[in-house]
């Protein structure tokens, strides 16, 4: 029996718009002997409606948490907007008894209850803190020597720091760099490393969200990284899915491959980019990067 078992929380974007991330994550986790279970009843985490009504968003989050509780499982999230929102909701409900009562009355009509029993883990925090760096490293059989990676921390993986930040300082985080370095690749510093993807205003101020993507991509080109790393489905939608739109607004080609961390890790674990890791589904193709790895592989 595997030591770790989670309810996998895909959120809204991953199941439709970042299939590469979904795929690579499942294959990698299964190789690592981490069991994940899908829940049909998991739906939107609530974040997209926080703008409209606080109580609605909290109750939506609580319903998801209550489903996980019913199954007796902790949640593993692959979108930072989801993990952040569910963690904030959980902590608010635990701290505020009145709110919890109100929300639970609404959930009772659906035969559900929130108690706080199930925890929420972001996949990168799981790798870093639970699975453990030492243990993870044992699975690296094909180090990604010579690959320069621009990591994208993303906002809700780090902040609000008191709830989601773990061991990271939000101004100077280190966990993702360490996880990338573990694959044998090199995490390179760049000016806009902490810049927001702008996903939350895609539907409100599209132009700004594209300008934010362009700013990030330029900064990555400046340091000549081979790819960008991400670990959030919404960030993936922005940087991979909308990179073309950002190119149009900047009147410039970027062509920066955007790899979910599990694709990078999977490559280092010796998995096949197309069969196992969904590289065919990447919008910006990572052909150059894969060719580079082939070369390194054949030299050694």
């Amino acid at each position: 029996m595997s030591k770790f078992k989670f309810a996998l929380f895909l959120g809204c974007n991953a199941p439709v718009r970042t299939l590469n991330y979904d795929r690579a994550t499942r294959v990698v986790l299964s190789k690592l002997d981490v069991e994940v279970v899908d829940q049909d009843e998991f739906a939107c985490c609530g974040y997209p409606l926080e703008s409209a009504d606080h109580l609605t968003a909290i109750t939506m989050g609580a319903r998801n948490l209550a489903v996980a509780e019913r199954e007796g499982l902790d949640i593993l999230a692959i979108c930072s907007a989801c993990s952040g929102s569910l963690m904030r909701t959980r902590s608010m409900l635990i701290e505020d008894e009145e709110l919890r009562k109100d929300v639970n009355e609404r959930l009772a009509k659906m035969g559900l209850e929130f108690t706080g029993k199930s925890k929420v883990r972001h996949i990168m925090r799981f790798f870093h803190e639970d699975y453990g760096m030492e243990e993870l490293k044992k699975h690296v059989v094909r180090p990604l020597d010579g690959v320069k990676v621009a990591v994208h921390y993303g906002c809700h993986y780090l902040k609000p720091s008191e709830i989601v930040g773990g061991p990271d300082n939000p101004e100077m985080p280190h966990t993702v760099d360490e996880l990338v370095d573990l694959t044998g690749a090199e995490s390179v510093d760049y000016t806009e490393r902490l810049l927001c993807c702008g996903g939350a205003i895609l539907g409100y101020r599209e132009r700004d969200s594209q300008l934010l993507i362009a700013k990030k991509m330029q900064s990555i080109l400046d340091v000549e990284a081979d790819c960008m790393e991400m670990h959030c489905a919404f960030c993936g939608v922005m940087y991979d899915g909308n990179q073309k739109a950002a190119e149009r607004i900047a009147d410039k080609k970027f062509k920066v491959p955007v790899l979910p961390y599990t694709q990078l890790l999977g490559l280092a674990m010796g998995l096949d980019p197309y069969e196992d890791l969904g590289f065919k589904l990447n919008r910006v193709k990572a052909k150059d990067l894969l060719a580079k790895l082939e070369e390194v592989g054949s030299e050694s």
Partner: protein, 187 residues
């Protein structure tokens, strides 16, 4: 003041001010620390949207709210430009919790009949499909082809929540949004 500045920043008069607005926002989840702002500007200096968009400025929005410029804040587009990145919230020396405050402005705007049109679209989709997009046969075929299990969120799984909190009703009562003049100068 040069003439164009006077045009861009017209004088505030009593008619523009609603003295109850500060209380209203402060009583909304996320808005509790509005009064603590001492206008240092750390938020605006840190803000990634501020850096690329002159129409957005968190310190300015907070000042407007503290002055009681209710209509100007609630009917604006700019309260919807915050990405929720939390940089300002982490750095604010007064713990104004700005990211949450921006959400509070939007919540009050929605209640008062001025939700951004995108909100209604999201709410509608979430009520119907449980998530912010529809997963039909086509999407599930793509999933299966990619070696993934199909995703079948039960219809209406969140609908009852949106109805029980009154959000569905509130959104039906949305008022027409004021249109901006051609040069977009409402910031």
């Amino acid at each position: 003041m040069p003439e164009d500045a006077i045009e861009e920043y017209p004088l505030v008069t009593d008619d523009d001010i609603d003295p109850t607005f500060v209380q209203r926002v402060s009583a909304t989840p996320g808005g509790e620390h509005l009064l603590d702002c001492y206008a240092c500007g750390t938020c605006s200096a840190s803000c990634p949207v501020r850096a690329i968009d002159d129409e957005f400025n968190p310190r300015r929005i907070i000042r407007m709210a503290l002055l009681g410029l209710k209509d100007e804040v609630l009917q604006s587009d700019f309260i919807w430009f915050c990405t929720g990145c939390y940089i300002c919230q982490e750095r604010c020396p007064q713990d104004v919790r700005i990211t949450e405050l921006m959400m509070a402005f939007r919540n009050v705007a929605t209640e008062e009949g001025y939700p951004h049109p995108t909100v209604a679209i999201i709410a509608d989709t979430v009520a119907k499909h449980g998530i912010i997009m529809e997963i039909g046969e086509f999407e599930n075929e793509k999933r299966v082809k990619a070696g993934l299990p199909p995703r079948n969120v039960p219809e209406d799984v969140h609908r009852g929540i949106l109805e029980s909190t009154g959000l569905t009703e509130t959104l039906k009562k949305a008022k027409p949004r004021p249109t901006k003049d051609a040069d977009g100068g409402d910031a």
